[in-house]
């Protein structure tokens, strides 16, 4: 059974220029020891989806749909219960490490806060755990580092510190929003390997938001592809990457420089990324799609099962055919 | 017309006030039948009434007519007391911001020096040395006021010159004057323009203050500050003499501030 299940999630922002439907009927689940990747281009609603789960959205957001945590409706919980779950069993790593860390508190104090809130440890045990956590995320001389402020850390170390704070209460689920996008590849590699170790050794569930298909391919078990606030395809990484059943996933994978002959022309996706404030009827990808048929422009395709655990919302699913030579 | 519909209400109000002031300045006779300098000994110190909405002064001169006829001088003050320091300050700020280094350090000292004195005190001191009158007032305001424009301009240029479009200009081999005046200036001028419009309100107050002190416009030239000064002796018996010109100053100031704020939004560059 899924640890977390999200059903028919909708998020609408009220803005001065009218409502913006940023997340439009998204459903997925994650089990213990599983890594789910959420990919999509900038503005497709990945961060909003992630933040809607633990109710961490801005005040101008209206959320509907059900989010169940171990079967319990997360959005129906009272504040005290929600606070206990959030930061304890469900931890979040935000996209921007500097804005998510408190600049005027030493890292050690920020870790301590989480431990005080979510564990029964005494002061000495909390300190010991703090040192252990920094060591775990690969920060050397952890004892001195505990007393330092975020600005004394490099970008990579701040991101690790964020992850250490998130992991403090040994969460059962980690929601990570582009945890490595701002980092160098060698540091990204270290952090992803660390997260995978936690998933493997402790059975933590991980939802990883990213726009790097490579990160998904190497890190995730399953993937949910988002386009213009909607889910267009979900399935195991293997199925989705090797036999995409949505024209957008298909086009995206084909546009990557792969094993093709050096300096051969790439296959770009025509047109511009969609504007969420100007939704189109029918399939959101239709204006850029090379597989369109008449109903694409008028009737929105629903997410349907293509094979066991592989769903896609594309009329051309069967016509995409050939395997991607990645 | 469509342009007007798109403008925000506060800006429209500000522009309307300024337009009215401009009309007063251009054709003062069109708004009142009275001669601003005409004595009327039958209506000395008359309280506001239908015939004299602002009342009259101790010589029976109509205060509405005098306030309206003063507009030309006050608008002139608003304009000249900002344009001269504005131009000088913009140019200096542009160069200081661009060249930086030693030039900037020197400029910093100079700014520190000027801002240690209250603006008004410094201007009064300079006018006192040069002698009273509008021209000397403009000179004094320019000597002191450019600093504020230059400071604004300098910091904006510092930001703009690191923009990649400036790097692109350099790589394209454009000359420094071209980069400064065609590229940096249009992108850096917005805060200066906005400040200038707001500064016009302050300039009117300054002109009025100096007029009041007898250092600015000289009687019988009607100027709002001079009008208030005239009224000060009658403040308990005929408060309208000072009150109405004072109100006019406030309204004019409001017009400039509203316009300045509106302009700030309007000139915002779209990214």
């Amino acid at each position: 059974m899924s640890l977390l299940s999200v059903e028919n999630l909708h998020v609408t922002f009220s803005t001065p220029r009218g409502p913006v439907h940023a997340v439009d009927g998204v459903s997925f689940g994650v089990g213990a020891g599983e890594v789910l990747g959420i990919v999509g281009e900038s503005g497709s609603g990945k961060s909003v989806t992630l933040r809607a789960i633990p109710k961490l959205l801005h005040a101008n957001a209206t959320v509907s749909g059900t989010v169940r945590w171990r079967g319990e409706d997360l959005h129906a919980m009272d504040d005290a219960r929600l606070r206990a779950v959030r930061g304890g069993q469900v931890a979040v790593v935000f996209q921007e490490p500097m804005s998510a860390l408190n600049p005027v508190l030493p890292i050690g104090v920020q870790i301590d806060e989480v431990l005080t809130a979510h564990t029964q440890f005494d002061a000495a045990a909390r300190r010991k755990r703090g040192i252990e956590l920094l060591g775990l995320v690969g920060i050397a001389s952890a004892a001195t580092r505990l007393g330092q402020f975020p600005h004394e850390f490099s970008g990579g170390m701040r991101q690790r510190a964020m992850i250490a704070i998130a992991l403090a209460a040994a969460p059962a689920l980690l929601l990570a929003d582009e945890p490595t996008t701002a980092l160098d590849v060698t540091i990204q590699d270290q952090i992803l390997k660390l997260l995978l170790r936690l998933v493997g050794e402790l059975g933590m569930a991980l939802v990883l938001v990213t726009h790097d298909l490579g990160v998904v391919a190497e890190t995730c078990d399953r993937v949910a592809v988002m386009y213009a606030g909607r889910l267009c395809e979900t399935g195991t990484v293997h199925d989705v990457f090797l036999r995409p059943h949505h024209a957008y996933t298909h086009a995206l994978l084909r546009s990557m420089p792969g094993e093709g002959a050096a300096r051969s022309m790439l296959v770009p996706i025509p047109g511009q990324p969609p504007r969420i404030d100007a939704p189109v009827p029918g399939c959101a990808f239709a204006p850029r799609c090379t597989f369109t048929e008449a109903r694409c422009a008028t009737t929105r395709p629903a997410l349907v099962a293509m094979a066991d655990g592989h769903e896609s919302a594309c009329y051309a699913a069967a016509r995409l055919g050939s395997e991607i030579a990645a | 017309m469509r342009l007007f519909k798109r403008l925000p209400a506060p800006l429209l109000l500000g522009l309307a006030i300024l337009a009215l002031m401009a009309a007063f300045a251009i054709a003062p006779g069109a708004f009142t039948p009275y001669d601003p300098l005409g004595f009327d000994f039958s209506a000395l110190l008359a309280a506001p009434s239908l015939a004299h909405p602002f009342g009259t002064d101790q010589f029976g001169r109509d205060l509405l007519a005098r306030s309206i006829s003063a507009t030309a001088i006050d608008l002139q003050i608003a304009l000249f007391a900002t344009i001269f320091p504005g131009l000088l300050g913009t140019l200096i700020g542009l160069l200081v911001g661009w060249y930086g280094g030693v030039v900037d350090a020197l400029f910093g000292r100079l700014v520190d020096l000027v801002v240690t004195f209250p603006f008004l005190v410094l201007v009064i001191a300079i006018v006192a040395v040069l002698g009273p009158g509008l021209v000397n007032m403009y000179i004094a305001v320019t000597i002191v006021g450019w600093v504020f424009y230059a400071r604004l301009m300098r910091s904006e240029v510092m930001v703009q010159k690191n923009g990649e479009y400036i790097a692109a200009c350099k790589v394209l081999g454009y000359s420094t004057p071209r980069i400064l005046f065609r590229h940096i200036l249009p992108n850096a001028i917005r805060p200066v323009l906005v400040y200038a419009v707001t500064d016009m309100a302050l300039a009117i107050l300054l002109g009025s203050s100096l007029g009041y002190l007898g250092l600015g416009a000289q009687p019988p030239e009607a100027e709002w500050g001079v009008l208030i000064a005239d009224g000060k002796n009658f403040f308990t018996t005929a408060p309208w003499i000072a009150l109405f010109p004072g109100t006019v100053i406030v309204i004019a100031g409001l017009g400039f501030s509203l316009t300045g704020d509106g302009l700030a939004d309007l000139l915002e560059v779209k990214r």
Binding site: D189, F241, Q272, P273 | Y165, V171
Partner: protein, 324 residues
């Protein structure tokens, strides 16, 4: 024949010292952004420059177009010493070497129409007679696949990818022979990157351009460059033919970098990180080989000797004492 030849250039940025540092008499520090870099760019090729954030790629690029003056070293372009150029000769150099910038938003003047931006470059360099400028602007827009009516519009009316096309058109306006592109696709959405990459390759073939392509995307480098230079902490640690280097990298850092790049191929998970540790501070680079604190095979000698960029018995240059 090499079109551009760089010999031993260095660029350091003095670091700001706080009052405390000064009072304590701490020494003046400098960021060693580019250290002793030597490099050849051959006519008609695409040379990739890769490396992690802060390793000096942009600084090197800016030295090549003289946006920065190097503290030491020499740059030859087409046989002429670039650093000595002034006046009209410098302007002539500017015409032949152009740059495309990373940020499509800040690299265009927001208060000028696209037509004015392109026209200005044409006018300043007298590329075409004045009367021909509008026609040439249309040709340039067509060359980068933008619509003709783009000329009357302002940068904010375009998407990131379209703006990058405008930046490319501006560079092409003066008909350069070398274009230095500093992360030209990094700021773009993945789905529009491919189109810009194609444009570079197409223009290069059509116009016979030489291209220096700076990026941290190794997948892209592998796909589109002929040769690649790998930078680490201000120095080039390996330079040679792209296909060969990707097949058998000789420097331990190149090896780690290539291993760390996630491939768009499912299930290549391995448990081990490619390399541990972080980039040391460029204010205080380690002695000897700058990579030694992170290097899995470092020896005592690595801590003392700075390895030079040499062939070391292989087909291309590498700066590692143990290579061979």
């Amino acid at each position: 024949m090499s079109l551009l030849s760089v010999r031993g250039i260095s660029k350091r940025f003095p670091a700001r010292r706080g009052m405390v540092d000064m009072l304590r008499g701490r020494p003046k520090l400098a960021v060693h952004a580019v250290e002793q870099v030597s490099l050849e760019v051959f006519r008609g090729e695409t040379l990739g420059i890769v490396g992690e954030s802060g390793c000096g790629k942009s600084t090197l690029a800016r030295c090549l177009v003289r946006l920065h003056e190097p503290d030491a070293g020499a740059i030859d372009f087409d046989g002429a010493d670039v650093l000595g150029l002034a006046g009209p000769e410098r302007r002539a150099f500017n015409r032949r070497v152009q740059m495309v910038f990373q940020d499509p938003y800040s690299s265009l003047n927001p208060r000028m129409t696209v037509g004015a931006t392109l026209g200005e470059a044409l006018m300043v360099h007298n590329v075409v007679p004045k009367a021909e400028i509008p026609r040439r602007v249309r040709e340039l827009l067509d060359l980068v696949h933008l619509m003709e009516n783009a000329a009357e519009r302002y940068p904010h009316e375009f998407s990131g990818g379209q703006r990058q096309r405008i930046g490319i058109a501006r560079a092409l306006a003066v008909e350069p022979s070398l274009i230095i592109a500093d992360e030209p696709v990094s700021a773009l959405d993945v789905s529009v990157q491919a189109a810009i990459v194609n444009l570079f390759m197409e223009l290069q073939d059509r116009l016979g351009l030489t291209l220096v392509f700076i990026t941290h995307d190794l997948r892209l480098v592998k796909h589109m460059t002929h040769r690649v230079a790998v930078m680490y902490l201000g120095r080039i640690v390996e330079v040679g033919p792209t296909a060969e280097i990707f097949a058998a990298p000789r420097h331990p850092y190149t090896q780690a970098l290539i291993r760390a790049v996630p491939q768009v191929k499912p299930g290549r998970r391995s448990g081990e990180a490619a390399v541990m540790g972080e980039l040391p501070s460029p204010l205080n680079p380690p002695p000897g080989c700058a990579f030694h604190p992170r290097c899995p095979v470092a020896t005592a000698a690595c801590r003392e000797t700075v390895p030079g960029l040499e062939a070391r018995g292989g087909a291309w240059d590498v700066a590692c004492l143990l290579a061979g």
